[in-house]
């Protein structure tokens, strides 16, 4: 039985402990799998465990230390990987029957970089099918449960990546965010969750959903851990022409320093949106006061076009998804039905059988919006609304360095509560405009909801490539609030 408790250690402490000889990377892997063993039959964060890969990585770290070699920045840090990220030696299912047996034949760049930095790949994390959803209820392999309350969703689509960190099964994880799929589960599980600027992290090797919106980003239990993970995965990649040549920074080392004089804009009109819970509003207002007490210059700002973000997104996202998912045709990979009459029959029946209800809904919506006669009314208008949203952010960032909104309008909700598709979509009302504009944003816990004790997330939005600014603001806020990231299911193990 392992004596290490990953819930009590940050990623940096895991690595420092290996350097100091307090524990080996193997013992860290043991601790991760012991926690999986203790909790994952209830939480279901993982679709696949990869102990062979993890122990191989651990042995490399331990051998390097024994040889006196310098250890990489995430040496021995256990990590979860969303199951839409390719890694040779694993299946990459995207939470779909379509790809149930799909073996990766190449590595996702962000995953490769994380592992090259010494991280241990503990397993592949559950997700809403093809990343369509905000609860993991759309996974073909059953939902993930929230470690804060097993009767509630962990958020989605990167729900497994959020839950494995919240439950202390891994120190960090990678998710992907097209309309909020990192930040929303981050908020619902009390973890720190970052969506980098579009182009900051390569998208190579992730199964595409919305190619002008998708970004990979990290989860952790602290801002520092998230910054260290970003440092490992960020930067230009010759395999993704949309990855940015903008220089990266040593994010993990730039968190110190005061936020005195930082210009913080509280996005007032979004806060007043219908459907935002009273406790959530209060928490964000309190966060603004915290920033003011730290010496920041807090003001109010409106993003008047952001309220159209949801509509624009539910045209652009499905439109891009319907194009990207055209590749699943039963020919080169994926599920194929037997006894097809002809090739069209093969395509149509394989797709109908392999895709779940939400995936079919999105493909249908996107195909409709792009079809003859409707293109201008929907896709054309959505692209113009997107321009307006970008202009709103641009003018807001002329006055402010960071913007504050809630991450979500409510805390983690019970399974089955949002059976109407649009009600589910509303959960991403605060996160979606950021994807449309390509900005970076981080969700950081701002406290727990009085009564339920469930975590609330504060979204800190930055300008393009202003990751250092939002990470530093998040670190100062984190230090001032003193949130305890250990959920009750984990506490009960002690």
């Amino acid at each position: 039985m392992s004596t290490l408790d990953l819930s009590a250690l940050s990623a940096r402490q895991v690595r420092d402990g290996i350097v100091a000889g307090d524990h080996s990377a193997r013992e860290v892997a043991d601790a991760a799998y012991a926690r999986v063993e203790a909790l994952d039959d209830r939480v279901h964060a993982f679709l696949q465990l990869t102990p062979e890969l993890a122990y191989e990585a651990a042995d490399r770290v331990d051998a390097a230390r024994a040889a006196g070699d310098p250890l990489p920045p995430l040496a021995g840090v256990p990590a979860g990987l969303k199951d839409n990220m390719n890694l040779i030696g694993t299946r990459t299912t995207c939470g779909s029957r379509m790809l149930e047996n799909h073996e990766s034949v190449y590595d996702c760049t962000a995953v490769r970089r994380l592992l090259d930095a010494g991280a241990l790949p503990i397993g592949k994390c559950n997700m809403d099918e093809f990343a369509f959803g905000s609860s993991t209820e759309n996974s073909a392999f059953g939902p993930t449960r929230n470690p804060w309350d097993l009767d509630r969703v962990p958020g989605g689509s990167s729900g497994g990546s959020a839950a494995c960190v919240a439950a202390g099964m891994t120190s960090i994880s990678l998710g992907s965010d097209t309309g909020g799929s990192i930040r929303q589960p981050g908020a619902l599980t009390g973890t720190v969750a970052l969506k980098p600027t579009y182009g900051r992290v390569s998208r190579y090797g992730i199964v595409a959903f919305g190619s002008s919106l998708d970004q990979i980003g990290p989860f952790g239990t602290s801002v520092e851990d998230v910054a260290l993970a970003l440092e490992a995965i960020a930067g230009e990649d010759p395999m993704d022409a949309t990855s940015s040549p903008e220089p990266i920074a040593p994010y993990g080392s730039l968190l110190e320093g005061s936020v005195a004089g930082l210009r913080v804009g509280l996005v007032t009109d979004m806060l007043e949106m219908e459907g935002c819970g009273r406790e959530i509003r209060a928490s964000v207002a309190a966060a603004a006061e915290t920033f003011a007490s730290l010496g920041a210059e807090v003001g109010e700002v409106d993003l008047p076009s952001a309220k159209h973000g949801l509509s624009a997104y539910y045209v652009i996202g499905p439109a891009e998804a319907s194009s990207n998912l055209a590749r699943f045709d039963g020919i080169r990979y994926g599920l194929r039905v037997p006894d097809a009459e002809d090739v069209t029959d093969l395509y149509a029946r394989s797709r109908a059988e392999g895709f779940g209800p939400e995936t079919i809904r999105r493909i249908m919506l996107g195909t409709y919006a792009l079809s003859a006669g409707y293109y201008d009314a929907y896709y054309g208008q959505a692209q113009k609304a997107r321009t307006r949203i970008i202009e709103d952010f641009r003018s807001a960032f002329e006055r402010f360095d960071v913007l504050l909104t809630p991450t979500t309008p409510e805390v983690a909700f019970p399974f089955g509560e949002k059976s109407d598709p649009f009600t589910m979509y509303l959960n991403d009302v605060y996160t979606i405009p950021v994807n449309l504009a390509g900005n970076c944003a981080i969700s950081v816990p701002s406290g727990v909801c009085p009564g339920t004790g469930l975590p609330i997330g504060l979204q800190i939005i930055g300008d393009h490539f202003a990751e250092v600014t939002i990470l530093r603001a998040a670190a100062a806020f984190e230090a001032a609030t003193g949130f305890d990231p250990v959920p009750p299911t984990v506490r009960a193990l002690a």
């Binding site: 799909h102 073996e103 034949v105 190449y106 579009y198 182009g199 002008s212 010759p238 022409a241 949309t242 940015s244 159209h308 949801l310 509509s311 539910y314 045209v315 055209a326 045709d329 039963g330 020919i331 080169r332 990979y333 994926g334 599920l335 194929r336 002809d342 090739v343 069209t344 029959d345 093969l346 395509y347 149509a348 029946r349 797709r351 109908a352 895709f355 079919i360 809904r361 493909i363 249908m364 919506l365 195909t367 409709y368 079809s371 009314a377 929907y378 208008q381 959505a382 692209q383 113009k384 609304a385 997107r386 321009t387 307006r388 970008i390 109407d420 598709p421 649009f422 449309l436 390509g438």
Partner: protein, 100 residues
């Protein structure tokens, strides 16, 4: 606007999805509802606004025209439902057996 079952069948054909009658019925109701929620888009006055296809101002970026390694044939075929060892096998696309 009122989307009809015949619209749904047409879109399903475009998307190559063989839906059951029950699915067509459900999707007609759901898509109609979703389109109702996003109908505000059609009414926005966006005359003269430039459309955005991509959030960052990136121009065409090309790599050097140099041969580099790609997927091996074996890897490319590894996940295919049916192959003959060198290629993907698909049902006859033109003319049936006479054309072979």
């Amino acid at each position: 606007m009122a989307i009809t079952e015949s619209d749904v069948r047409h879109v399903a054909m475009l998307a190559r999805l063989a839906l059951t009658n029950e699915q067509v019925g459900t999707l007609t109701v759901e898509l109609d509802s979703l389109l109702g929620h996003i109908d505000e888009l059609r009414r926005l006055d966006l005359e003269g606004v430039e459309p955005t296809a991509h959030p960052l101002a990136m121009t065409n970026r090309t790599r050097a025209d140099v041969v580099r390694p790609g997927l091996s044939r074996e890897d490319a075929l590894r996940n295919a439902p049916e192959t003959d060892g060198t290629a993907f096998v698909v049902p006859a696309i033109t003319g049936g057996e006479d054309a072979s």
